[in-house]
Amino acid sequence: MKLTDEQRGMLNGEYGEAASYAMKIQEGVGRVFRANRMVPITRAHVALSAQDADVWFVEKLVGMGGKCKIAPTVNPSIDVPYLNRYLAEVPQEGKEIVSRTNEAYRKIGAALTFNCTPYLQQNVPAFKEIISFSESSATPYVNSVIGARTNRESSQSALCAAITGFVPEYGLLLEENRKAEILVDVKAKIRDDFDYQLLGWCYPLVYNGPEVPAFAGIEERPTPEGFMNFGAELNTSGAVGMYHIIGITPEAPDIKTAFCGKEPRKNIVIEQKDIEMVRKRICGEPGKIDFAMFGCPHLSIRQVGDIARVCKGRRFAVDVWILTSSLTKELAARMGFLDIISRAGGHIVADTCIDVPPCWWPYYGKNAVTDSPKCAYYNEIRKISFKIRPLEQAIEAAIIGEVRI
């Protein structure tokens, strides 16, 4: 890999120990993926996880005097005071790792957004902008829906990029690797946001390869939340850093452009029966529930408003947790949604992830409802059994304490 004088200087320690350490890791990645050079980035997102490796790595960089050249937005951790007050005392180990993680990211100069949908607010890239995004639902959104350029970074490689301000140029940063190779003919009816959860889960089951797929047969543009769900599930059931939807996403105005004039390497058909197979396999049977959880990925203000509309003037029979960004929570307060949901007995909690143990321990082993297959999957290890339903149906279930259909 050819480095500029500035990049070579970083590697050799002229810009401090942290930049040199980060550059060495990036140089290794660039070498393996045959990058010819490193290119500047203008945005980064780090999938902070508040787990042992995460805090070790960021503290190591802080110890070396590291400071981000590009302030990255970061994933959620835990709103400890809120959960202490309304759920249960967060265990000591959880409190410690959260406070250490937050402090280290503050010192390194990250933007403490604690939100996993930076592409909807606070860190929205432009078409062809070169960026470094980790977080499995964020990478496909910025690449596919917006047409920005990032590889499927790990949280560590994205933090290295935030420190140096550069990324090795390979993979999805290059035009030729962004063209579609798999044509997916969608014959199933894909209409609402929930259909995209099922379609996203379905595709990697039908075909699991590293190539970029292009989905044809979808006529109506998905909502931002539909796109968000689609990317999240494609990357829970599989690993899809980029996709196209013919006639909708910016790099696929038509099949010819999406495939760069070439024939698809493979043709796949997804029919209604494939979607129904997924529904049957993952959504769970009707039955009683102990709580409800939403916000994997974090809900948008439109979704919070949808919840408020359904629960207005009613009472939830079980605990209801709605996870979102602090900005969306503030907006929900201004718009009256927070009052409506609070009066119904539900909680809107900011900065928090469904997957950060150990704050959700009172629910281990219980039954619940969610609208998110990703939420259900990552809670299997905690023996929480989730039934998955469209958002409004799930809210109705939380009002009666039971999933009826």
């Binding site: 990645v29 996880s49 790595f57 590889n151 499927r152 790990s154 949280s155």
Partner: protein, 138 residues
């Protein structure tokens, strides 16, 4: 006992030896028990086997942008990590985890290596010089 050598390329520097643990499917370090190094992922071909002290020959990696590194870190803290890794299909998440954890590791091994290697063969990975040597059990 015959010794064969194969060319490869460095991911992270270093040299280490151990018995081969061959995974023909993708590996996720998050689904490995840190205290024992035992793979606990249900339905994985290596379920119940331990990574501790082995040279892991991995077809590929899998998992979100966080879990691969977190799993490998926990294993390394308990000294139950593989001593070296030979990775067939590199992806950015797996490669950056190996670099950050400084596990001697290589990719782009000669195709003949994969036809030759069997579980338990004694392997030395010399990442610095790009050489794998394999002492077959047969």
């Amino acid at each position: 006992m015959s010794v064969k050598t194969f060319k490869c390329e460095r991911i992270a520097a270093g040299k280490a030896s151990g018995p081969a643990l061959v995974s023909n499917e993708a590996v996720c370090f998050y689904l490995v028990e840190p205290e024992t190094g035992i793979i606990v992922e249900q339905n994985h071909t290596l379920a119940g086997r331990s990574m501790d002290g082995t040279v892991l020959v991995a077809h590929a990696g899998k998992g979100s942008s966080v879990v691969q590194m977190d799993g490998l870190f926990k294993l390394a803290m308990k000294h139950k990590n593989p001593l070296a890794v030979i990775l067939r299909n590199p992806d950015p998440v797996f490669v950056s985890a190996l670099l950050v954890m400084e596990i001697p590791s290589v990719f782009n091994a000669e195709e003949a290596f994969y036809g030759c290697v069997k579980d338990g063969d004694l392997i030395t990975v010399d990442a610095d010089n790009g050489i794998i040597s394999l002492k077959s059990l047969q």
